[in-house]
Symmetry: D2
Subunit: 350 residues, 4 copies
């Protein structure tokens, strides 16, 4: 068994890691770290567990010499510190925060002010969705995973930007996200009475995930995208996220070209489901249809009348958008089959 520690079990992503590791045949949770909840039994925090489970300890007390992998489900500043402390002492550190997502220093500082990272860790860190950079995860000491929104956007755009190598200019992204995206941070606007009936433009003109996606695509293929602007909205679901990506093209693409490009790009990638099979009535991506699973559902539609391509990408914030993708990365890191422990079907309806 591969011995895994999870730091940040009090949060939603940390809690989801606990659920997924309980299903994993090769990874075993042997350390549960959390500051707010230190001293509690794990089952007191996570009502899904059958047994009270181990006692939660401060994350800084993670026993590096008895762990094979540590998942950091902590705020970016804490992740930066813990990664510095644990990398090379533990064979693999997998960070779910934003601490290492953006490489360019001044862009990082703009979106993560005060999150100081060791420069050598930035250089050595492998960042990206396992579908796109999984090969480089095999021997990585430090892995950084995209945010939930960045994951959906990047998986939606990659076949156009990196597969077809279309010049993408003025990409416009409109993300609708459930409340789990904000985690369990205590703030009045997150309370049920205020969130339950709301459709809230919480980041209408700028979002750090846009910077993350743009940098990633440009590094993968210089000039892949000139401008990408993003607006993000909170809607009253819990786990779901739907990214709508609008791309204007000079050269019109037919629906069958689009479909072929996406099929080819994601061939062999079990967690990306291409929806709207033309021969069947498979529905379009809707996060309800992936709830609880590690799927990201993707469709690209040629809107010839509108002179645009509409790409839809849906995922569960806490699974493919966080904990599931982290386990998928661990599978790549340790040479396990990519789907190990992640074969649960969506729970529909949710």
């Amino acid at each position: 068994m591969i011995r895994a520690g999870v730091i940040g079990v009090s949060g939603l992503a940390g809690g989801e890691l606990v659920r997924l590791l309980a299903h994993h045949p090769e990874l075993e949770l042997t350390f549960a770290g959390g500051s707010a909840s230190a001293g509690l039994r794990l089952g007191e925090l996570h009502p899904g567990l059958r047994e009270p489970g181990p006692t939660i300890q401060p994350g800084t007390e993670a026993p590096a010499d008895r762990l094979d992998v540590v998942f950091l489900a902590t705020p970016a500043a804490v992740s930066a510190d813990l990664a510095a402390q644990l990398t090379d002492r533990v064979p693999a550190v997998i960070d779910l925060s934003g601490a290492f997502r953006i490489r360019t220093p001044h862009i990082h500082e703009r979106w993560y002010p005060g999150v100081a990272r060791a420069a050598d860790l930035v250089d050595r860190c492998v960042y990206g969705a396992p579908e796109l950079v999984g090969d480089r995860m095999a021997d990585a000491a430090l892995i950084s995973l995209p945010g939930c929104q960045a994951t959906a956007i990047t998986l939606g755009l990659a076949p156009l930007a990196l597969g077809l190598c279309l010049p993408l200019h003025r990409v416009l992204v409109d993300v609708k996200t459930g409340s789990s995206g904000s985690g369990l941070h205590l703030r009045t606007a997150g309370l049920h009475p205020l969130r339950s009936g709301a459709i809230t433009p919480y980041a209408p003109t700028g979002h750090r995930h846009a910077a993350e996606v743009t940098e990633f695509l440009r590094r993968a293929r210089p000039g892949a995208v000139d401008s990408l602007s993003m607006s993000a909205y909170g809607v009253p679901t819990v786990r779901g996220l739907l990214a709508s990506i609008y791309v204007f093209t000079n050269r019109p693409l037919a629906q069958h070209e689009l479909r072929r490009a996406y099929l080819r790009y994601y061939k062999g990638h079990p967690f990306v489901r291409l929806r709207q099979h033309t021969e069947t009535r498979i529905p379009l991506p809707d996060p309800q249809a992936v709830s609880g699973s590690n799927y990201c559902d993707v469709t690209a539609l040629a809107d010839e009348e509108g002179g645009r391509i509409v790409v839809l990408a849906a995922l569960d914030n806490l699974v493919k958008g966080a904990a599931g993708q982290a386990v998928q990365a661990a599978n790549r890191r340790f040479g396990l089959a990519e789907e190990t422990g992640l074969t649960m079907l969506p729970v529909v309806p949710a």
Copy 2:
């Protein structure tokens, strides 16, 4: 115009008072008090307002000499202090908190530990739903209103306990309440992700509203009820509350007797709607049907097979359960027609 102050405008009940006073032809909001939000404009807190409105000030700065009535939508301990400070300096103080609901000192102290009240204020305070004690509100210096759950339960039981004078023993109350019942108190369990899919037994074996109801009924008619036990559950609506009241009787009552008793008891009370008119398909009480209005919908059903009476009472926590009832009390206090400013129909569906 009657000059009204509202203290506690940052909370849900205070905010609802602001909405209702804006519709009221005789009461005018001339002072907005709030500690957390002091310095903000009222329209920054309450997105329903059209204009930025007045600046919020600390509640302790209420100008007693320029107010005719003060509504206290504050925590019980704050209400106790403000009532002592304002009563007799302002013609009428109307308290929405629990500070003055329970008269008997040791019962008060059990359920409101640390809430110290001036004994003479307790003696002079008129407590109860306007339907039941409205006559006594006409010259009251201090009025205390029942909690949202107590309002529904008392209005549901009064025709049996005080109208028919049935001996009620082993009354069992099961309340289902939306999230507005907890106000905007910051706690993890109140966040949208945790509340959205939950049905939570938050007070399964004891609730202070049970003590409040029991004391009230026994004072109104000694021996009216021997034991009343209550369980309360949070469900994922926002404004609604449904109280289910189960009463076992020695003497079976026919449905038509029940109906007649309730009709007679609430004749002339515009805010209690008796549902399930036998000649029509009027639905049973469901809080969705009273949303945004000051109605309390009530039905009493004879379950002859089960040897019991089932009373259902539905209201909007923030209107009939708090701010609406407070305005109704103010109408009684100042000799206005009971419905003044409260004629808005429910917003259905909500």
Copy 3:
């Protein structure tokens, strides 16, 4: 009193008309028409009403000679027939359906196949939001109101397209709508278990409201918009609708220019609230903040970095998006003050 008939009371928009007319001091509901519910009492359908109310009759039995205005809250094909039957027999017919929204015959036929309209009625019909064409409603025999989505989009765009006369090319609209937008049409996808956790791209590449908006703007100012493409999503709220409108501009506009243009355009229009007052913390448009009211909240943001303008417009599908706007039109038609009967504040939170 102005005698009003409502046909289609079984639907959500018809039901909302019943609510609003109950609050209206000048319009009185004297005929309730509905096919599915004929024979029922109005209060059996609409749980918000206090009394059982009148018996519902088939819409075709509307007594034209005893009505001053008829509201058609019926499907487009039914509205086309009823308008032909009632126009000129009743002083004013106000249609909430899509029957008369699109003038150009082949565009109408594409989006409303099988809805045959009398050509002379199309010519005489006044179509549009009262803010934009209200002056022409004063003596109109037939008024057609925009759909809920078209209302939000048009009110959002008008200051740019018709006020500033900016050339708008490649306007991109992303609408998020609650379930009331689909009415009470029986279909499996509309059931609570399937809709409750969903974010559904139900019209990702084409929507008839886009055709409606485009035609309206071009008629108002030739060349006002070259292409407008729209995607629509269902989210699990009930009444809310938020339209996000993304506009790329050649000439960058500063935030203060935008703000001034919108303020000027909507000066004197009480139902359009311009949000994000710069001097206060008024929140951005969120449909929760207009729930139950006739407001449309609008903000235009200059996203200089993204080279675009982001316009947000929020409304309540059933009020400003349907019944409220219809009453507003009736007020214009009969020379009443525009706000008559429509002064209710939003019910927040909802």
Copy 4:
């Protein structure tokens, strides 16, 4: 592999069986039957599936000679017919409907009018939750499972009625259920706008699950319960169900006695979780904490002041209340470990 057919895949319970069988290492779905959806591919109905899957056929075409077990997720009348047709031609028939739940003919006819069952099938049928009658399932030709509400109530009461053998009189049950309990039956009241904000007393004075529970307990121990009355409410969750069971006792039981009795009764039963471990802060039963899993969470609380016992039982309507319990029964029937294929943890929050 054990070859399984599921008839009724268009419904929610049938769909959940499809999900669970996909996870089951010993049961394989080899026939998908459904009338409404015949001709579709399974993946067109169930968006959780990765592949389009087999084509759905009419249930009457189930190939009895090539199946080891058939699950009937059909309406009661259809189940009665299919059970007559398939029993003894297929080794095991497992019915999720109400067709065989109530044995006594006149009670059956009262609650299931028009559902005619072969008398010999009633005699041979094993009915009950696997925790209570699992031993008798080992060689059963026909198994009938309790309804979702009856499952929660019976599991909640059994330790009192059948373990402690307390005389239970005047048991009062108040069930709060999510919308999945009504399945996908098309009716206006089930549409999202009407259900989303409602707390609906849909069966306030009588429910067929009460008859089912009462008969079961009395057959298990004559005199186990004298009267059990039930009220059922719809709340706006999807999968959850919480049963509150109020029991008055002559002899007061201490909390530790209750706890010990429940622990002893459910020792060795992996799917019943006893909550509120006294030594920890494990929360009380809330259906959110079992979502997607086969757990039934149970707590019994001694309310000494109220002279009653409060039993809470929470489950997921579609899993432990339907499909999961059916798979559990199949495991018992075929001698597999009870948890086979059912080890998924709850998906929390949902």
